[in-house]
Amino acid sequence: MICLRSACRDYLMGTQTVHALDGVDLDVEAGEYVAITGPSGSGKSTLLHIIGLLDRLSQGSYELDGDDVTHLSDDELALVRCETIGFVFQFFHLVPRLSAAANVELPLILGGIAAGEREERVQAVLQSFGLADRADHRPDQLSGGQRQRVAIARAMVTKPAILLADEPTGNLDRSSGKEVIHILETLNSDGLTLLVVTHDPELSARANRRLHIVDGAITKDERGAG
């Protein structure tokens, strides 16, 4: 499903070049549950952004679902993101002036789906995440856990094949965090490919596969229960 070969991502910091990713080879099969860990600045977020097509490789190649996406144009990348990839962020990134339902509806609006179908799909996905009674609330009227659930609902409403979560519990209390992890794992057990970047060893231990990154390179790749 995901196939990175000699993937490099360099940044220019002043006059110095920083190798955020330094020759990463990675294969992820459909339906895998992967936790990515590593110290701050190790490049784990960069890896996630590269996989999510929010960032481009400096060198190397990236195949997604058998298609080479290394050199796609900006608009083509946007289309792939829209159809194949869902994102969940540490800080939720909900649009503050929109209700929960409207936030979830956004990807469908961008995709040009008709209003009637949008309504149905939004209702369905809110229902399945236990947010049906929160549909008309704005983000500032929701708890942290509810916000992250809305964000997951937004990511899932387009039925993506891959869900990328960047510290999804980093901004939540323990019980909300557990709730969110439970939802993500349920989705994974239904066949969704799940990649989670986390600091939390307890969370990474739950994944079937754990990648450890240091200085832009994968130093550990463990499989099986942690």
Binding site: L54, H93, V95, R97
Partner: protein, 399 residues
Amino acid sequence: MRNRDLIGFAGGAILGHRLRSGLTALGIAVGITAVVLLTSIGEGIHRFVLAEFTQFGTNLIAVMPGKTETLGISAATISNVRPLSLNDSAALGRLPGVIAAVPVVQGNAPVESSGRSRRTMVLGVGSEMPAVWSMGVAAGRFLPADDPRAPRAYAVLGKTLYTELFGDRSALGQRVRVGGDRYRVIGVMAPKGQFLGFDLDDAVYIPTAKALALFNRESLMEIDLLYREDASVDALVKQVHQRLLDRHGFEDFTIVTQQQMLDILGSVLDVLTFAVGALGGVSLFVGGVGILTIMTIAVRERTGEIGLLRAIGARRGQVLQLFLLEALLLAVLGGLAGVGLALGITGLLKLLAPALPVYPSPGYALLALLLAMVVGLISGVLPARRAAALQPLEALRAE
């Protein structure tokens, strides 16, 4: 992305910041109000001045002695210019399409009656003057159609002169002296008012031949022709030109049509309207800068939102559209409010100061609205482009 959703999203963003959007739209509204109001006043003045000039009728041709290319008044002594005579006037009056010809001489002389005297304007005119200059007789009648070369000594008084000389007594049949000669008053004109400083009411009207003798002149000052509504002006001017050429031998006269004068006047007044409109445009420009500012701030503030939209699949073009549309909507809202406000103010002005020439023209209002949209689009381009150019990752990190 569907158009309705585009508008919905942009509209939602505007409603999300009510106060800020309101103030921004207000900037445009003030600009549009200024444009509409000022052009209304310009248009009002336009109409007022044209009405002033057309109060003598529009189907007029004036013939004056001398070719105006020579500049100034032709010196009568050594001139090879033949004066315009009463016979010229009569000849022009017989042209097909011409309803009436009035030979005009103007001067100043004391007018006396029963011990009262007033120095006033003396107009030597033909019997058809009321028709040609669209003036009315209030009492008695106007000068009769005598033999133009030997008219009887009748005079018709303007309203002001009549009041000054006779008070509220009847003037009909009374004798007056104009420059020493005796005349019998046979009529009093209805008031007409001032025109370019000439008080047409403070005047006495006497037959042209008498006035020529009074002022010791050979030439008429002007022949005014009234032509039929359906006559072609150009053809008529040619005929007048030919007839006078036949009579004089060469071109020593000038023909001015009322239409020419109105055209010149009209173009001057158009410039005026445009100039005041441009003044309003300055405030519209300021309003546009307001939109530019607010949209720039909005893009900066909503960097995270833009990043998110890009992350969940919005293309650059869509982000561009959204922010352009937002600027456009702001401008349209402001524009509509401005047009409404301007119409309200002009309505109020008409109620409070009916004398003020204000005339809101729907054409200018529509133009102002279009202008607002253009201003909105232009102001939106820069911020929208900046928004579209943001890398999704950078935009997401900004929050």
